[in-house]
Amino acid sequence: MSMPDLTSAAGAPVINMGTAIRDGLLEAARRDPSVIFFGEGVEDPGALFGTLKDIGKHIGHNRMIEMPIAENGLIGIAIGAALAGKRSVVTLQRVEFALLALEQILNNAAKMHYVSRGNHKVPLVLRMIVGRGWGQGPEHSQSLEAIFAHVPGLKVIMPAFAEDAKGMVTAAVEDDNPVVVIEHRWSHYTTSAVAEGYVHRPLDGPRTVRKGDGLTIVATSYMTLEAVRAADRLAEAGYPVEVLDLRVIRPLNLDPIVESVARTRRLLTVDTGFRMFGIGAEIASEVTSRCFDLLEAAPVRMGLPDHPTPSSRGLVRGFYPDAARIARTAAEMMGVDEAEIARIEGKILADRGDVPIDVPDPFFKGPF
């Protein structure tokens, strides 16, 4: 699958999203000496899945702050440093570790600018990674953007593509607000041509990654890739759909979605998080309120079912929405007949081949 409308960097080196994020962080840190990095193993051989690799070598090891295993305290400390003028960038290996620090994040980080009537600023980047596959299980796989998105004062972003991710983390570092960056581990592997040097992508809202009039799919993070795969097979079969990569969950910019739905008259959302009380609900209900008379059918939301993530590959069959299911759902919404749907679905399943369910499909590596 190709994604020409996404890359501003044809000819640029093809790298994966993890590396692109690392390059973006490095670039931002080079330009601004107040940027400092926190992480558990911030300069260890793993370097947070490689996303902080060698940054200390370039900007000075003193700016790489090894975190003791104390997420609440250290995130509070990162906030304090931000109050005093640093740009703190904290990386957590898993979203779940942030649960220990929600008091600091939801009260101090989110509200300090507001409470201080603008006196204080909290330029904080809080990166956290969603685990998936290889038996991660219930406490290493949650994608809890709905929690962060609920709280005014935070920004919440979820990049899906390499170059965009590079530009978005740069924008996050430069932002004077606390920005929660939720990165899906499987997105780290996706590749694209990524412009070298400084790249800035404003945290301004969704981006259209596939055009089509049959239906609007709003997807987040890794699910954007599954949606694109579904869209390509649907288009091939004569049912082009629009895919919007949501990118920024908060502040939520619905305008491009409303514009698209006004044309397609149908909305499908696909999240990486739990479906119930998830972010799709906000999008679906707000789009409904803005496009009620234009909608042909109720918006449909896809997300994780209402139970924790089990570890065994036997148990996760069907747990995650995938391209096949997205295509089927979209096709059903468009009134495509069952035989045709089965054909499209079959093609997608054949594309996937016998890649085991608990590892990323090489197909998704791109380049996009």
């Binding site: 250290l74 304090g80 409470v115 201080s116």
Partner: protein
């Protein structure tokens, strides 16, 4: 220090304690008018700790406080008019009425923030110290914390990191024996509270928090040690006279005894220090009365300022969600 300079700090500290006392007694007196419409946690009886510590700080040093922030705010040089307007919920409040008594701040005076979630400001204080260490700017941050904060994990997480990195931060524990209505003995096992500091390799001093000179001397050590990159811990024994939250005395409601209160009443940091200065011939009864009049006039003016300040308009509430 010359005799002259010493006299200086003594009078200055006495004045500051008296000023804080008068502010808070006036709040207590007028609270029933129901115009200060937010929870207030008074420090009456505890002024020695705030004043003794803040007096050794430079103006650019930083302080973080908690729900019980009036004394810290004033001792660090926070603007009195802005404080009273904040408590009255008015537009001229230090943060325009957004936070009330529990969120007092005056960053220009180094009073960084007050955070009403117990212990929640401790990592923030540790974080500004980290930043200041990066900037090598010689600033010290003081983190005021209550005895209950030693129970919160985040204190330990912060102290461990401060010591590990050698941060210029002083943790000042004001042990007033209570968390709301619960005695320390019902919340923590018996052992010297300074053992908690030792767990994180922090050096500490433990002094009578109602003895201004003792506090100031210990604080001087703590702050100057911290300034060289060795964080420190101060344990200061003190006592809150009035109820946990609100203007009244509450010795009759059952959680503590009138006797206990009286023991501490006679150890009033202000009265003790006044006597001490009188005995030392630094202060006369007349000059004290004069000082009291002057300060009360200032306090009354601050109340008037606050009362005359307009309520903020609702549309102001939508500003500053994002920077």
């Amino acid at each position: 220090m010359t005799k002259m300079a010493e006299n200086d700090y003594r009078l200055r500290c006495m004045r500051q304690m008296l000023r804080i006392r008068l502010v808070e007694e006036t709040i207590a007196e007028r609270y029933s008018e129901q115009e200060m419409r937010c929870p207030v946690h008074l420090s009456v009886g505890q002024e020695g700790t705030a004043v003794g510590v803040c007096d050794v700080l430079r103006s650019e040093d930083r302080v973080f406080s908690s729900h019980r922030s009036h004394a810290h705010y004033l001792a660090k040089g926070g603007n009195l008019n802005a404080m009273m307007a904040e408590i009255y919920g008015k537009r001229d409040g230090c943060i325009g009425g957004r936070g009330g008594s529990m969120h007092l701040m005056d960053p220009d005076a180094g009073m960084m923030a007050s955070i009403p979630i117990v212990a929640s400001s401790i990592p923030l204080a540790t974080g500004t110290a980290l930043s200041d260490k990066f900037d090598d700017n010689g600033k010290v941050t003081v983190s005021f914390l209550g005895d209950a904060c030693l129970e919160e994990g985040v204190f330990h997480e912060s102290a461990n990191f401060a010591r590990l990195r050698g941060l210029p931060v002083v943790y000042v524990c004001e042990n007033n024996l209570y968390s709301v209505y619960t005695n320390l003995a019902d919340r923590q096992p018996e052992r010297p509270l300074t053992d908690v500091a030792k767990a994180h390799a922090l050096e500490s001093r433990h002094v009578d928090g109602n003895d201004l000179d003792a506090v100031r001397e210990a604080a001087s050590w703590a702050v100057e040690t911290a300034r060289t990159g060795t964080p420190t811990f101060l344990l200061l024994d003190t006592y809150r006279w009035r109820e946990h939250c609100g203007p009244n005395y509450d010795n009759h409601i059952g959680y503590r005894t009138e006797e206990e209160f009286q023991t501490w009443r006679v150890r009033d940091p202000l009265e003790r220090y006044r006597k001490q200065l009188e005995e030392a011939g630094i202060l006369s009864a007349g000059s004290y009365a004069e000082l009291e009049r002057t300060l009360q006039a200032e306090v009354d003016a601050a109340f008037t300022f606050a009362i005359n300040s307009p309520l903020p308009e609702p549309n102001e509430a939508r500003a500053h969600v994002y920077a």
